[in-house]
Structures are given as C-alpha cells and as structure tokens.
Symmetry: C2
Subunit: 665 residues, 2 copies
C-alpha cells in the first residue's frame, strides 16, 4: 500500500472527500435508492469564486455529473447528494474549478449598484458570458439564453442596472448552473462506492428454531418428536402476515452426541435431549448436511420456496465450529489445531473448557479450509438461502471473511451476511468494512434514554457509510436484566425502538409471549430453546397485543422511507432523563416519492411509573421552521396530536411507553 | 491519485495509522528531537495474542525498529514514540503479528496455576520457546537465556509452577520483548514523515521596522532621516540579550510613490511621509532591491552577519504585491491582470479600491512568474535570510506555494516559512500541510480563559503533526480591544501566554512600552509605524518591567523542553471562568535530558480585579499520582509554592495576572 509522494495540492484545492474509508482502502457502501451525501472541503486563494461538481461513474462506466453547491461557508464544505439506481461498484470524484462567471456576478452586482466601474463591469460581462456560451458544450436553447444575456448587457436603451438584471435572469442563471463555465478544473482522487440491493440495509428478521415448530411430546412416554421443515413452514404465513421479510433459521445441521449439552445447559444430556444446534456435525454429516429429523434437502428447498412465495427470504445461521463428531475431524485434522500432546484442541477460555466445540484452524491449510467453507456456502446458496447470520465471525481471521465475501459477491451480490460479533469496536467496524452487510450491535445493552440516544446518533454518523446495524431486543442468547423485569409495556417499547431506531431489526420467536424468565445466573432464557424443543401455542400470540404491535411496526416501516434509512436521525432534548425522543427524516429531494417523510419516536425507559416531559425539537432537522405546527398520528395508540417545536408528552406504562408518530404533510 | 482496489485487510489487521495526512497525501512533520507518537488500531480474531512493531526508515535508508506496545485495550490502540535525530524525509510503517509466546504465556499462567493441562502447557512452552530461540536472529546471550528457560520447563526437580516462573524470568521476558517471535507479520502502508530542524517548531521572533531604528527628526525643519541597516544593527544586542533568536524585518524594498499612503493611513501622503513598506517597488527596483535609505546589499549582509554573531537569524517579510511604480508592471504586464478596458487591475474588495496595491496574476504566465519569485527568494537566501514571513499567502494559488517551498527545501531545507493567513480553517490548515513551517493563529482573538483553553488544546491536537502555531500578542496590524484596555499587567499576561502556549511566538517591537492606543475605528495602533518613522527611547525599555519579563520568558523557554514542544499540553479545571490553567509536560522518555519536565501556567484574563480559583490538576497528564505534592517556582514572581492535585491561586493585577511555575523534580 505504498503511496506516491507526487501527490500534491491542486489549483483549486480539494481535501477531505467523504465518504471514504482510509482514502479508498475499502469502498463506502450504499443501497439502491439510498441518498449518499458526498462532501469535500474546497476553497481557493483570494476572493474569486469557485465551484464544484460531483462525477459518479456507474458500474457500466457511464459518468453522472451533478452540481455540488457550497453547504457551509465557514468550513469550506461542498456537498452533493447522489442517489444510486443500480447495484454494483461505482466510483466518484470531485471536481473543483474557478468560476469566472460567479466572480463577475459578485463584482458586477456590487459595483454597478454602487456606480463604480459600470462600463468596465458590463464589458467584462460580455467577455465572460461569451466564453460561457462558446466554450462549454450546450444545446441551442441554452446558447440562445446566453446570446440574449450578452445582448442585454450591450443594450444602450437600458440603464446599467436594468441591463445587468436582464442578463442575470433566472433562465440565464439556471443555464449557467446546469453547464457552468469551469476553469482550472482540479480533480480529486477516485473513491469507490459499492451499491448493494436495498435489503442489505433494510430488513425485518424473524428468528425461529425450526425443530420447535410442530414439535410434539408424547404425553405417555414423554418422548419428543422434532418439528420438520414441513411443520415449520406452517408458521411462515403468520410471520409474513406480521410483515417480516426474513425468516432466520438457527443451524439445521446434524448435532453431535459427544459432550452433548442437556436442558438448561446441563453438562450431561439426558436421553432424548436434542442438543444444541450450534454443536454441529455427526455421523449424519457436517455443515453441508441437514439434521435428519428436520427433513431432506428437498423439503428444505420446499420450505425456502414457500417462504419466498410469501415474500420471505431465508437466512441461515452459520457457526464455524465442529462438534466432536464432525466428519471433518477425521477427514481433515489439519483444519483444526493439534496440541503438543497430539490431541485436537477444543474451545477454551482458560481455565474453562468447552469440550463440545472444536474451533477451526484457518492457517494450517488456508486454501483447503477456505474451499471447504466456500463449498458449504455454495450448497446453501444453491438451495435458496440468500442471507447468512454468521456466529462469532470475530474469532476467525478477517482475511478469510474478506476473501469469502468478495468471492461470493462476484457470483451472487444479492447474498447478505450479518455479523454476530459483540466485541471491541475496532473488530466490529472492520468486519463491516471488509464486507459484512449488517452487524449486530450493542442496542440490547443500551439501557437508559441517554445511552440509547448517544448510540443511535453514533450509528447514524460516520460509520453509516459501511456499518449497517441490525437491532435485536432479545435473542436466544440474550435476555438483559431490564427485559427480565420490564414486562409487556417495556417489551413493546423495546420492539418499537428496534423497529424504528435502525433500518434492520430482528425479533426472536416467542417475543409475542414476553418470555422473560432467565436461567438463574445468566442473561438468557430459562428452558432455553437451544437445548430443548419449545413449541408455542400460536393461537394466543396476541394475548399481550404483541403480534398486533409487530404488524403495526412493520407496516410503518414499509410505508415510511424515513424508517428505512440510517442517516437522518436526530435525538432531541427532553426534560426527563427517562424519556428519549428522536426523529427520522428524509427530505423531499432524497425521497423516492419526492415527499419529505418524518417519524417522531418518543419512549420512556421507566416501565414502573408515569413519566412526562417537555420535548424540544430541533426543527431544522426535520425541514421545519421553528413556529410550524406538526400534526402527527401515533401509530401505537391511534391518537392524533398537534405538536410543535415544544410539546408535552406523558407516558403511562398502563397505556404505552412509546409513541411512534408519523408527521402528516 | 487513483487508488488500488486490491488493498485489503491483513492477517493481523492494522487500521488508522497516525500521524498521516489523508493516508500519506502529504508528509506528517516533526523536528529533530521532537517525540513523534505513532499509533495504530491493531487487533485479531479470537483470543490469541498479537504484537506490533514500528519500523522507521531514515533518509539514508536505514531502518529503525522499535516495539509498539498496546496503549489502550478497549480501543485496540498500539503506540510507539519515535524521536528523530536527523533532518530529512523519513517514512514509517507498522507491522502487526501473531505472538505465539504471548498466547502461551497467558494460557500457561492461568492453567498451570489452576492445575489444568499442566504437562501439556509445559510441553507447549518448550515448543514455542525453542521456535523463539532458533528462528529469530539473536545474540549468544539471548539464545542462552532461552535455552535456560527451556531447560527450566523440563526440570523434573521443580514443581510445575516453579518451572514456569524460572522460564519466565525478567531476563527471558526482556529477551523476548527485544526480539520477539513474530508470526504472520502484516505490514501497513508506508507513511511519510518529514523531519526539519528544531527552529521550524521552536523560535522566538522579534519584529522591527529597520527604518525606525536610528531614525532622526530635524527639530528645526521637522524633516526625518531614515534609520539604516547600520543603525538598526545597534538594536540587535538588546534583542539578543532578551533571548530572542529571530529578528524579523518588515519589507526593506523600495516604496512606491503613486497613491502613497500618509500617516495614519491617510489617502494622500504628505511631503516627507515615507510610505508603507508593503507598497513595494519604485524606480529603485522591486522585491529584489533594497530601499536606498536603508543601505546597500553589503550593509544588509553586514546586518545579517552581525545578527548571526549574536545568535539571531534574520526573517524577511515578503508581500507579493506591487506598488504602481514596481518595475515589473512595465516589464511584465502579463504577471498582472489586465481588465476589459486595458488597465491593470489593482486590489479591490468591491466597491472598495486599493489603488496603491497591484496583485500578481499567477495563471497568465505561471512559469515566468514562478521563476521571477524563485529568483527573489534566492536573492535573499543568498544574502543570509533563513526565515520568511509571508504576507497573505492565502491570496495566492496554493500550487505556487507548494512548488516554491518544495523547490527551496531541495537546496536549503533550513529555510523556514511563516504563513500570515488569518482566514477560514481549511485554507490555514492546507497552507501548513503543503509546506509552510509555521502559521500565525487566532491566538490574538481568543479573549476569554475558556476560548483560550479550547484553542490551546485544539492546536496541540491532531493538527500538531503539520501546523505549528506562532503566537503574537500584537503585531503592527493588530491591537485587539482587550489589549487597548488591559494595561501593563494584561500585556505581561498575554506575553507570557504567547511564550508558553506555543513553541514559537513573536513580539512586535515597542511592546516594552505597552503601546496600546488605537487609531479610532480600527484595531491597530495610532501613529502606526507602517506609515511613519517611530524611533523609541530604549533607555526606558524596562519601565514596565516588560524587558525583564521577556528575558525571563525566553530564558524559561530555553531551559524547559516542555515549552519547546507542541504536544503535551493539558488544560485543567478551575473554579473561576476568568482563570485559565494549563500545563506543558514532556515525560522522561521523550526528554533529551532523560528527565521529565513540567511547567504550570495560571493566568487571569481579568485585568481589573483580583480573581481567585481552586485549580484541579489532571495529575496523570503530568506523570504524577493524585496525592503527589508539586513543588513549584514561579518564574514571574520568584515565589515558591507547594501545590498538589488541588491548589488555590489568587491573581491580583497589582502583582501579576500570570504564574509560570516550573515543577521541581
């Protein structure tokens, strides 16, 4: 990565072009129809005018040119918004240039008004507009506007100010803005921008353990019969009806028997315990095989087809670990780590041992192990899987992921990877930079209004150009203390925050029932579905109104582009530390329908008491004036309110802890 | 500046290497003996250990390798400090690597202590230490330490814990730290670092108008006789005695007569008015000529030699403008701008006109005008000038400066350029990035303790790797309202802040007399020396104690490395908004003498009342523990104090508004 020392400042300097990840080391990311603000710091010597142009090259090599107006004088910031229409690798550059027309307009307006150098100003106008007409490629109409302007400047019948006014008609200004006279054009570096399909940013996941759906216990013998792809498929219509668009399956492969965990993570499994689906591999096969209880490849493909017909894509959970019975342990011991005593290393966090899990070694035979995994992913992609939830990607080399994700994207750029890494920020951010499309986040652990507000703003900031959060209020692994205690109103609030705080979110099945009892000493559910069958009585799914709520939230997400974008989030001041208010906003020029879209979310983090607050909105963040009224409809309660820059809210847990208020135009 | 798309993450990822300006677009800057902290974000998959190395390549091509330990676990930050010993273009890279010894040490310490896998851990230790011994180049002693360690691990006479302890002796750890076993070495990009002489960072300027020094008025006729280089040279010993090391001369060239300004900026000069030295050029010559009143080139060179003998370098003020009488207007009209009416454009800020100044055009004949200026600078460099103060560099193209400064540095890297640009941040920062060694700043306009504290921290931050501030409490152009009203105690405080707040500062002559009366309506001195002769009675120079103060400050700066560095500044909390406290600190390992150096500055911004405050020091910023006492000597009052984390100060304008307290070891 050696860089040239010949680089230098240009005639019209351009610095700090954004978005860029280490000046183009990795591409910035966007999805089709997502507005990409491109900014650069541009300035020049002295008092003459400069201008800027954004040039985007699309994957076909076609160049798209757009004006890049000044956005912030003090910071010398120029900005243009590019909205991609096609997937694929784009690139963009910024061009800065001397603007002789602008310099003349400024001087002429001041001096002619002051009666200074009037004839000189008119003569210089003729010069510069003639150059603008004759040296810039333009159509006949555009040429004619400039010819008329030049004629006006020399029209002896008019007073000088009238000549200038005629020469600077709106039409002439528009003509010049569209095709400006650009001198000393200076070009920035070329920055990569990878455009992906919209689902890479916007998705609503619903997680199930397929074996639980339709699992049955014999009342006499106590013996369980596993659910299958066929029985699990019966759950799909309800998931689709709620408005989810991804059904995510925990691992579906054969499960090891050696050191199998029993219910509630018992070290010894009892007879009939199905084992954790994350302990992958048995005599029935490894990561490219199906657990025989679930069905055949044909029934899996039927499941996928059925889901697809309902508008649901299938996400598969991939944990790159082996159970002691995984076929590769014998076939390819070089894909694991052999210790000094000749044994194969299991997972450890010294002195703790996890003898049911063997981590892979990616360095002994990098090509072999890479192609084995590439094959596993191909198997499932060929079977119709279009999303993967990767378990603990941060415990595998990043070189492996970067190669794999690039490789798969070459053939199947539609395939989406979600990184399940809860670790230090550098790793989480770099996983996103090297290609993961979505990332689990710390959302679940942000437990106060202030923490949540800061985190939402952070995620909507600089990292939004590469890291796309996926918010989960619970998972099969996570049940935070607040969720253990908060009760249904709190669960509803957290679901609403997840669904509106980020363009992607996910719900772990059973959320409908507020399954909030933890196994003592750990922050996960008691009787965890990881270790046992857990069929649920879906006829009671709406007893807390949760099914209705989720349906409402998904419907809002589909109606409101503001909820399908990551940038455009603003946290507003409230007078109560328990109450968070944020807005999501897409201005008219960035909205597919050409209409601004705004959603106001107000949430109380206190499930035990009534809280009220005065909220003060930063009105400029939602393209409003300070004294504009805001007419809103709260999708949670159905109530309408007229709010304004300041408004009062009262959140009563017996009613609702959250408003999700859409702003009427 | 197109970048490769092949760049990717490495086996042990390295991101965000600093210092770098746009990933190496321009070199970061340092001076000889200045500590350069190099940081990088480095992390890896899983739980195994990683390590890092900094590799600096000096101008001779020699590589210097130094360990780069972890500095901040949560942010995955590694840091090494490089202290250059030679001038010239260096480069550096970061190497990150897998640390199998570190991984083993961690596991062995935990597991052997817990009695788990004891024999395995000992066996793995033998393996890894054998690799460390045999595969890394090391001397005989180093090899023997590792052989002893391996023997200890297999010593059946010792208990396992004792074997481990023997194997991990301090000696073995040092041996391994010095020459670690590095696997999967990953290399960052190569980043440029330009090392310059110390004066580029550290300098004390004293500005004079040479014509004033020794100027005499005939009492009968009222006629003035100009001072000369010979008479001005008589002032040099006093300037040197105060401890300044740069004498800066306002322009010394012939002055135009057309549109000459009179006293107090009168539009018409009276007979005998000498004119502004910034209106350069007459029949006597232009920028490469000397004003005949001042003397010949020989007398100028004598002045330079005399200064040099006293330890003073000479800085020349270069204003790239022409008076209407500049010879180049006739010889090279293409170096100026011709308007549509055939006239040459003078300076304007429409509708205001500055008919005494003609700006250059750098675009009509870029090669011609460039070489003309290159010649001007060569003339003065050949005459012994080693610093230039560039008047308004931001009104000339940055391409011009970048080329000129690179060009001059090729032959004379010792020549230093100070940018006098008071404008928007983007321009000021980019002037520094492209090669200006020092920059005027907003110091003068930071008029509250809070503003000043924020500004000091800003300048000591990220931009310290390229922008070196030069602080001026006044100049011939600047007399801020606070300086007009503050009186001598306030002037002393501002001088002390300038001298201690940045490694470079400057004093405009006459500061000794607190010349604080402004011309009505403008923020500059009445009877401004720009437009008239202004001899001063130096026998009274210490009537306010200012000469003593300046001498004290310069002596402190020369004794304390902490005052000669830009980084290492910390602003501390005080209970009074009028009182600023900051420290400058160089830790022992970054200090040329190997001793930590700390200076505490406390200043009151209120010249009209007694102010007191409790100061709370961030003790970690000065390498102290919270309960350490701090014994200080205040250089301003000569008083000694014993301070600590919290201390009380009272600043009485009748005594002093500032303490500059050096910390005794």
């Amino acid at each position: 990565m050696e860089r040239s020392q010949e680089l230098s400042v240009g005639r019209i300097p351009i610095v700090n072009v954004q978005p860029s990840l280490e000046e183009g080391r990795w591409p910035a990311r966007a999805v089709v129809a997502e507005a990409v603000p491109v900014t650069a710091t541009i300035f020049r010597e002295g008092h003459d005018a400069e201008g800027a142009t954004l040039v985007v090259t699309d994957p076909s090599g076609k160049q798209h040119t757009m004006p890049m107006p000044q956005d912030d004088w003090g910071n010398s910031l120029y900005k243009a918004v590019f909205i991609p229409t096609h997937e694929g690798m784009h690139s963009f550059r910024v061009e800065a240039w001397s603007d002789p027309v602008g310099s003349w307009v400024h001087a002429a307006e001041v001096k002619i008004h002051a009666g200074v150098d009037v004839q000189l100003m008119l003569a210089e106008g003729v010069d510069v507009l003639t150059r603008a007409r004759d040296t810039v490629r333009r159509g006949a109409a555009s040429k004619q506007h400039l010819t008329d302007a030049i004629a006006a400047l020399t029209d002896g019948k008019l007073a000088p100010e009238a000549r200038l006014e005629a020469a600077l008609s709106d039409q002439v200004r528009q003509t010049l803005a569209k095709a400006p006279l650009r001198e000393w054009v200076t070009t920035s570096a070329e920055y990569p921008l990878l455009v992906q399909r919209e689902k890479a940013l916007v998705s609503a996941w619903y997680e199930i353990f397929p074996r639980s759906e339709g699992a049955k216990q014999d009342k006499k013998t106590g013996e369980w019969t596993s659910g299958t792809f066929a029985t699990a498929a019966k759950r799909l219509p309800a998931i689709a009806d709620m408005g989810f668009d991804v059904v995510y399956l925990t691992p579906i492969h054969p499960i090891g028997s050696t050191h199998r965990k029993g219910r509630n993570n018992a070290l010894e499994a009892a007879s009939g315990d199905p084992g954790s689906p994350y302990a992958i591999g048995s005599e029935d096969g490894g990561h490219d095989a199906l657990h025989p209880d679930l069905g055949t490849m044909r029934s899996f493909k039927n499941f996928v087809t059925h889901a697809r017909d309902l508008g649901l894509e299938v996400a598969l959970d991939v944990a790159l670990n082996a159970s002691p019975n995984h076929p590769w342990l014998d076939e390819h011991p070089e894909w694991f780590t052999t210790r000094a005593d000749g044994t194969i290393a299991y997972a450890e966090n010294p002195p703790k041992k996890y003898q049911d899990i063997y981590p892979f070694n990616f360095d002994n035979d990098p090509e072999g192990v890479y192609h084995a995994w590439r094959g596993v992913f191909k198997t499932w992609i060929d079977a119709g899987v279009t999303l993967f939830r990767i378990d603990n990607p941060h415990t595998k080399p990043l070189t492996f992921w970067e190669r794999l994700l690039k490789d798969i994207a070459q053939e199947r750029p539609d395939v989406i990877f979600l990184a399940e890494a809860f670790t230090r920020p550098a790793m989480m951010h770099t996983l996103a930079k090297i290609g993961f499309h979505q990332s689990y986040t710390y959302f679940t652990w942000r437990q106060t209004a202030e923490e949540m507000g800061e985190y939402l703003e952070e995620l909507a900031g600089e990292s939004s150009f590469y890291m796309r959060p996926n918010f989960w209020p619970t998972t099969h692994d996570i049940l935070t203390p607040d969720m253990q205690r908060g009760g249904p109103p709190y669960w509803k609030m957290r679901a609403a925050l997840a669904a509106t705080g980020a363009p992607s979110y996910g719900i772990y099945t059973g959320y409908e029932f507020v399954e909030s009892v933890a196994r003592p000493g750990v922050e996960e559910q008691i009787d965890n579905e990881k270790y046992e069958y857990k069929p649920r009585d879906w006829s009671k799914a709406d007893e807390h109104g949760m099914q209705t709520l989720l349906t409402t939230l998904n419907s809002l997400r589909s109606d409101h582009v503001a909820l399908r974008r990551l940038r455009g989030l603003t946290v507003h001041r409230t007078t109560n530390p328990n109450i968070l208010c944020f807005t999501r906003h897409v201005p008219a020029n960035e909205s597919p329908k050409g209409r601004a879209d705004t959603v106001v979310v107000v949430a109380s983090f206190d499930p035990h008491a009534i809280n009220d607050a005065i909220v003060t909105l930063d009105m400029s963040a939602i393209s409003k004036e300070d004294d504009d009224p805001i007419h809103v409809l709260d999708a949670i309660t159905g109530a309408t309110y007229t709010w304004g820059r300041e408004f009062f809210v009262r959140l009563d847990p017996s009613q609702t802890l959250v408003h999700v208020a859409t702003v009427r135009p």
